[in-house]
Structure formats: structure tokens, C-alpha cells
């Protein structure tokens, strides 16, 4: 008797996967992932229909999923993020039931509490032993943290580990332990290294991005939060990273030692931690090779689960202890609601990920975005989709000025005292429209193609189908 199987087909047969079940996946192999496509092809081959796919995120590499949707193999999707290729097809209404969008934190939470049960979790693991003790830190497909897969591993009815580095000896310090693992399947390759992590994440050289980044760092400095013990999260976007660079300069100059850097971790945060800006890193997903190397070798670079990161039902979640987060947006409205789900044509091209989790938790939630992108104003009267509610957003940074949420008069005063260019958000909208013109309103259909579920479980918005 062994847990080790030679194919995914065998796992599907032995676990008796049948019509109507839910299978889950994690996205640490990002746009290099082979596992979701392999498993779904095997499920389709077995003639199984009406499957619900619960994936922490879906990328363009998962395009074969569209055929399984058209063929009725997949009729439901639950996810926290969806790339533009899958998103566009969903927006055109190919899926039978509306997509359920959740946040990274609440996805883990509802798998754990049974609101969104998983029948079989398929976990891509860059290294596993024969018992299913596994890690993402080593192996040819190393991706670093497996944080988003922890809830799946712990709470799914059945767990299958899929690896391309099966070792005989028991794995030391596994990220996921083998106790709840039913089967371990060995595959030639679980992912394309070029798509798993980027080599280096680069800081923007675009002058507009640098202006915004410098404002962002000065806002943090002026906010009163820049002191020993500060915690910080930023995305991997060029301007966000540039903001981290300016922040690092200020922290080193003032000899400020922060507590932790959080989130998806880039090499940039790794450097900040090494140079003493933070005591530790708390990592739910590695974005680049430096981050993978760091989580493997640096004991102060800690792997955390989605629940530890951002669960709304976990009072100790890291986001609740977060001082500052820098976030992006495709659209912000004059009530500070943020859209990160759809593009300017209403087509799905993203998702909350941890956006609304961190905005809700952080003491200072900052959105950074250029006032105009290709003739479109970042600020509108009403976002076409509410991803993150305005009452959790503190400030919008553009190259043309900084808009502070009216509920943060205290912050506004601090920024004015620091001589930062504070403007009313309506003024920003007017300026953009004066330069670019007033866009024709978005026309969508009547059919709901996705429900955006906020971290408290309520449907915060719906996304309608596209008619063109």
C-alpha cells in the first residue's frame, strides 16, 4: 500500500470524483502552472460534468478551462482573481452560473468554516515525500510560499499532492504535512519556471510613476505611522515598488526599524528586511526568485497561510496589524470605492486578491494610480464594479495631487502640514475630464456573470455580461 500514484486519472478514479463535486487549486505557480489544466483535462476525459472549480486565482495559462466550460464539465467557478483572457470569456457569458469572487482572506475562511466546502484539493507541490509532506521552497519548480493552499490541505474532504520532485526520505520542515493527504501523484513537470516567478521585479523609471511613488513615501512619513514597529505591504507594480524604494531610503536615514513586511513578497521587500527596515517578512506568496531564495534560507522570512494573512474571522490576522498598504486600482470613484475587477469596457481582468482584506485591516490604505490611463480618468462618479468599499480607503495618490477620504480629516491635516498637494477628489475628476473629455457611459447586458462577495460574506456588487 502506498499513497503514490502514477497518474491524475488514477486519483480521480480512486477518489470517485463525480458530477457536481468541487475541486480546488492554488495559484503559487501563477502563469506557469500545469497542474490545473492537467487535472481538468483528466476530469473531462473521465466524462464528469458540472464541476465547481475553486481556484485561489486563475491566469491566462488556464485558458483550456474555457473548453471545459463550453462542454459543461465546469459550471461553477469560485476565485479571488481572474486574468483577462478567462475574464473576457466569462464576461461574454460562457459560464452557466455566475462566478463567485472572494478575497484571498475570505476564500481561506469559508473553506475552513464549511460555507464553501471542497471535495478534492489538488495541490501543486514543488517537493513532496511519499507521505505527502510537501513544500514550495525546494525543487526545480520552487515557488516559495504555499500559503493559499493551506486551507485546502487542511479542510478539503480529500487531498491530492501533485509534484515533480518526489523524495523518498521524510521531508524536513514541510509547509503542508501529509496526515490529511490521500494520494501523491508524480508528474514530469508541474510548471514552467519562466511563468512561475519573474526573474527580477523592476522599479518603474516612468517619471509619472516616480512622482506618485515619492508622494506615497512622503504621505507615509507625514501620517505619523512611520516609527519603530511599523508594518507595511505593497504590490509588485512598478510604482508601488518605487514607493517602497523611497520609503526604504527614509527608513534607513531615520534608522527606523519596522516590525513586518507582509503579503506577496518581492525581492524588494527582501532587501528592505535584510537591511534592517523590518524584523521579519510574512509571506503568503513569492513574486520573484529573490523572494523564493529568501524564504528558503532566511528564518525571519516566514510562510503564512491565507487565514493567518487575512481571514475576516481571524482577529489575529496579519492584515489587522498592518499599518500601511499601497494598492492599485483600475478605477476609483468620488466615494473612494475601488474597482480592480473590470477594465474600462466592463470586461473582467482581475479580482480583489488581498485588496479589500488589506484595505479593511490597514491603518493607512493608499491607492496609487495615474490620473489618466490612455485617455481614461482613474476617477469617476461611480465605479463600474465595487471591489473594495470606499469606507476602507484612506487616500488616493495621483501625479496631479492627493485626495484624502473625508472621513480622514486628521490625515488630511497632516498632509497639508507636510505641504503635500492635497486636492478634493471631485477636483481630480474634473481635471481629468477637462484634459481627456467626458467618456460615454458603459453599456452592459442584464445577465449577472459574477458576484463580488465582500470579506464579510455579503454581495458587494455584481458584474454584468458584455453585449459587444
Amino acid at each position: 500500500m502506498s499513497k503514490v500514484l502514477h497518474s491524475v486519472d488514477e486519483a480521480i478514479r480512486l477518489l470517485e470524483i463525480k458530477d457536481g463535486m468541487t475541486v480546488s487549486f492554488h495559484h503559487h505557480l501563477r502563469n506557469g502552472d500545469y497542474v490545473l489544466n492537467t487535472v481538468m483535462a483528466a476530469i473531462a476525459n473521465a466524462g464528469i460534468k458540472n464541476i465547481k472549480v475553486n481556484a485561489s486565482s486563475l491566469f491566462d495559462v488556464h485558458e483550456p478551462l474555457l473548453d471545459h466550460i463550453r462542454n459543461g464539465v465546469v459550471t461553477d467557478i469560485e476565485t479571488a482573481y481572474m486574468g483577462a483572457k478567462i475574464g473576457s470569456a466569462i464576461s461574454h457569458g460562457i459560464l452557466q452560473n455566475p462566478v463567485t469572487f472572494r478575497t484571498h482572506g475570505s476564500r481561506g475562511a469559508v473553506i475552513a468554516n464549511g460555507t464553501s466546502p471542497v471535495d478534492v484539493a489538488f495541490i501543486a507541490a514543488p517537493t513532496s515525500d511519499e507521505m505527502g509532506n510537501c513544500t514550495g521552497k525546494t525543487g526545480k519548480s520552487a515557488c516559495g510560499s504555499l500559503g493559499y493552499a493551506f486551507a485546502d490541505a487542511q479542510y478539503a474532504k480529500h487531498v491530492v499532492i501533485i509534484t515533480d520532485n518526489l523524495i523518498k526520505e521524510p521531508l524536513e520542515n514541510p509547509s503542508i504535512t501529509g496526515e490529511r493527504v490521500d494520494y501523491v501523484v508524480e508528474m514530469e513537470s508541474i510548471g514552467n519556471p519562466a511563468g512561475i516567478v519573474s526573474g527580477t521585479t523592476r522599479i518603474t523609471r516612468d517619471p509619472v510613476g516616480l512622482v506618485m511613488a515619492s508622494y506615497a513615501a512622503r504621505i507615509i512619513e507625514a501620517s505619523g505611522l512611520l516609527k519603530d514597529g511599523m508594518s507595511f505591504q505593497t504590490g509588485a507594480g512598478g510604482a508601488s515598488l518605487a514607493a517602497a524604494k523611497y520609503l526604504k531610503d527614509i527608513m534607513l536615514e531615520k534608522k527606523i526599524k519596522g516590525s513586518f513586511g507582509l503579503g506577496g513578497i518581492t525581492g524588494y521587500l527582501v532587501d528592505m528586511q535584510k537591511e534592517g527596515c523590518f524584523e521579519e517578512l510574512r509571506d503568503v506568496q513569492c513574486f520573484d526568485l529573490n523572494a523564493v531564495e529568501s524564504i528558503r534560507t532566511n528564518p525571519n522570512h516566514k510562510e503564512i497561510s491565507a487565514i493567518e494573512y487575512a481571514s475576516p474571522f481571524n482577529a489575529e490576522a496579519a492584515v489587522n496589524k498592518l499599518d500601511v498598504v499601497i494598492l492599485g486600482a483600475t478605477e476609483v470613484d468620488t466615494d473612494f470605492n475601488v474597482n480592480v475587477h473590470t477594465d474600462s469596457n466592463g470586461s473582467i481582468m482581475g479580482g480583489s486578491g488581498g485588496h479589500s482584506d488589506t484595505a479593511a485591516g490597514a491603518k493607512l490604505a493608499m491607492i496609487i494610480a495615474p490620473l489618466l490611463r490612455a485617455r481614461l480618468s482613474i476617477v469617476s462618479d461611480k465605479v463600474s464594479c465595487i471591489s473594495t468599499p470606499g469606507n476602507t480607503v484612506d487616500v488616493l495618490v495621483t501625479q496631479q495631487g492627493i485626495a484624502v477620504n473625508p472621513k480622514r480629516e486628521d490625515l488630511k491635516q497632516r498632509l497639508l502640514d507636510a505641504r503635500l498637494p492635497v486636492v478634493d477628489i471631485h477636483e481630480l475628476k474634473d481635471r481629468a475630464q477637462k484634459i481627456a473629455g467626458v467618456p460615454a457611459p458603459l453599456v452592459t447586458g442584464d445577465r449577472t456573470v459574477a458576484n463580488v462577495v465582500y470579506r464579510d460574506g455579503t454581495i458587494i456588487d455584481t458584474i454584468k455580461n458584455l453585449v459587444t
Binding site: 474600462s344 490612455a374 485617455r375 481614461l376 484634459i435 481627456a436 473629455g437 460615454a440 453599456v443
Partner: protein
Amino acid sequence: MKLVKSAVAGTLESNDVFVEIEPAENIDIEIESIVFAQFGDDIRTSVEDVLNEMGVKGAKVALNDHGALDCVIRARLETAVLRASEV
């Protein structure tokens, strides 16, 4: 203004527009734009305005727009017209 040859102006960079123009019997305008849904009508109006102002009666105009501002669209088209008319 009478066009005597075909000409181009602009680039395919973000926030710019690439304009191609050639002599023709009537006015024929073709617009491709990443912001067509939001600004397609505005862009057509601007193109018609510029051609009118410059007295162009016959031209085939093709725009490949990557989100250029209105002033940029007008300037690029004006340049294309001048190049096509050998002023």
C-alpha cells in the same frame, strides 16, 4: 486643400495616435481605438472638424488610436494632411 499623395503621422505608442491618409474622391474615415466605446464619437467629430477646417474634400483617413488626447489627435491629423498635400 488637395491631397496629392499618401502620408502618415504619429506613432503606435500609448497615448498617441497613428494617422494614415491618402487622396480619395470622398471623405472616408476609419477609426480603431482602445477607447472606442468611450470616445469613438468624439474622435470622429474631431477628424471631421480638422478636415473641414483645412478644406480637405477628398481623403481616406485611417486612425489607429492608443488613447491619444483630443489635441494630439487633431495635431497628428493636421500634420498628416500637410504632408499629403506637399505644402
